[in-house]
Symmetry: D2
Subunit: 119 residues, 4 copies
């Protein structure tokens, strides 16, 4: 198993959930809530920092960030699984849209949101 | 390229960011904010629904959910990249901790948070 | 002091922050992060529940929800304070816009987002 | 009516909701989701900024922040209303707990989370 493959993570989570009979709680809505909760637990580590670099975080907080990232990814993969969404295909598809919304030669070095480029 | 491999997504995002000279905005803190914003845009589609099943969402909203999931994953992978975190290893590591925190024979069919099992 | 008045809460928070010399951390961005973190801690109590009614929460969780609501409000009021925003006036102003976006006779009993009414 | 009084905001929201027959959607869980969604829309305005000061935001974004703060407060007040929570009393109660958790003479000028002070 290659643990950096999204189907491997999906299968790992499926097994974990089935062993605990937790599928009954895994509505897409509940999973979307849980993913947001984990994402915010990650944000908590950064809220008072300047940039949140590995150095600024320090080893202890970096480990916690690592675990919160894992938790967020687990719920993200589980939500995609319950809605039969192929995440790799979704990312490819969305990046095509992003390339059209943010043409490199127009937005280079500028972080304004794309809809500010329309006018 | 296998688009369901996290290193493929990481490389796709790196190219996209470098073409736009956006790395300067990608502090871990800013990426954690952006990931939370995308996760909440996903949640918005579910906020008034009962369960958010594919049927309840309908085709139009399901496509939007697919795109918000992709956006959230892109920022998640980018944040891991900037902190040199191997996501696959992090998930494996966290799932070992989760197995210890939520022993299958004690939590089966029960969604209470693990710290309620301590007493 | 009437503790349900937003200026009373603002003043209570100002005193608390000044006693701790924490104003230096209270950039609007950091406070927006902190408000989101508290809001998600509140959401955590609801993530696996059906409706999150007082009965379903139970007394213990209801008390925790009460405290998370307070924390969220404290950061919200502090953020408004740092940006010189009069929250009462902002709510009045926004409700006028909401009344225009969601005319009662068109949206009655329907929770779809307003932009679905445009076509 | 004093629009900075939380009971005035509560009553304004009650009227708005009743005119639209939207109370049926206002479970505490749904309102917690909606509050998080609005809080993240606010965060979006800050995600690529340094501090998010009024000057850095500029007049246009400051107005949007003002509206997102109002939206977040509206859902916060509505959620408290549905759970019969007196927000002013909750804030007073929580600030007493915060004073005990973060004694001014121990935490002055230090933003670390309180549980790091225990050891």
């Amino acid at each position: 198993m290659d643990s950096n493959h999204l189907t491997a993570i999906r299968d790992l989570v499926r097994t974990f959930v089935n062993e605990r009979d937790w599928d009954q709680f895994h509505t897409p809505k509940n999973l979307a809530c849980a993913m947001n909760v984990e994402a915010a637990e990650l944000l908590e580590h950064f809220q008072w920092l300047a940039t949140g670099s590995a150095q600024e975080l320090g080893a202890g907080k970096l480990l916690e960030v690592r675990h919160e990232l894992a938790d967020t990814l687990v719920y993200l993969v589980r939500l995609a699984d319950k809605l039969d969404i192929d995440l790799g295909a979704a990312v490819e598809e969305k990046m095509v849209l992003n390339r059209a919304k943010y043409p490199a030669d127009q937005v280079r070095g500028d972080a304004r949101k794309y809809d500010q480029y329309k006018s």
